[in-house]
């Protein structure tokens, strides 16, 4: 229940953020913003905002990579994100608290 007390769980409980964390947890490879936006139906600018918040809390780890867009010779910097082990602990705390309150 450590993450309920320090507020990390409440911040992750924001509906869009919770959806993003669940998606990153279930994915085997790191995902970039456009991919997350497409999968969840959340606006890419909102996805970036939520990733900033999640990264600040250490729930998500992001890095930039230069990849070549299809049909183009120019490289593009994409932000690749993946869930950290902390994400699993936070989600477990949330699930336990929901079960505990009988919601």
């Amino acid at each position: 229940m450590k993450f309920i007390v320090d507020g990390t769980a409440q911040r992750v409980m924001q509906p869009a953020r919770y959806q993003i964390v669940q998606l990153l947890r279930s994915s085997t490879t790191p995902l970039f913003v456009e991919q997350i936006a497409k999968e969840t139906g959340i606006h890419p600018r909102m996805v970036s905002h939520h990733l900033d918040v999640l990264e600040e809390d250490g729930v998500v780890k992001c890095r930039y990579e230069i990849s070549r867009a299809e049909g183009s010779r120019r490289g593009m910097a994409v932000r690749l994100c993946e869930a950290t082990p902390k994400a699993m602990d936070v989600l477990r705390d949330i699930e336990e608290s929901i079960r505990g309150t009988g919601v």
Binding site: D6, R11, M13, Q14, R45, H49, E56
Partner: protein
Amino acid sequence: MNGASRFLRQTGEYLYFTFRIRKWLLRSLVIMAVVPGIFLFELPIEVRRVFAYVFVSLMAAGVYAVANVYAGSAAQTVAVGLLSKKYRNKEYSTPAIEQLKKRMSLDNVKVLVTPNPVVKSAFTTPMRPRVYLPSAWLTEFPSGEILSIIGHELGHVETRRRFALEVAAAIAAVLAFSFLLAFRSIAIVVQVTEFAALVLALTYVSWRNERRADLVSARELGPEGLISVLQQLKTRVKRDEGSETHPPLSDRIRRLVKLLG
């Protein structure tokens, strides 16, 4: 909790009018005052009696329902002042907040965090330039979103004069309307109609004021933070239908999402 307060609380919960009902109560009061009200003297005595019963019942329900809401929102402002010794308000300042205040030329505004349990949401005091935040929000929302909330409240401070003018205009319009009504109706009908029309007009003005503050926050900091906060708050409300002071959260979110492009 003693018997009397338990009784009051239970009655309050049982006699809770949703915003939709409150709005229709007031609208029907205005419609009744205008349509049968102006022909009151020409109506037969039986009809006049029925009119009086219906009008008085609507009046009692309307006044009770609306007074309840305004008392609730006034309680926050009063509580932070009256209980400031029991619940110490602490000044909250970060470099980002100071930068925002400077950018908006609102350096004189104090941002305070209060542990007072009566305070359930952020608000601005009507006279002094102060922004209050419930202390629990500091852990519930990330720092970037807290800044967006403060941006919204600073928006209220920035557009305070415009809001005051709009309130004055609403009062003037209602008084003009009731002045015309006074020629054709009895005093109590005119007075009750004044009250009902004023609440309806102030709701309109207040909603505009909230949307303007949302725009100010979006202009200064981008709409992302505020959208996220409103989405989180939406999960906590039973009915998202707005109130006399605030538009529905879904409407505010929709307007801010449009700004994302």
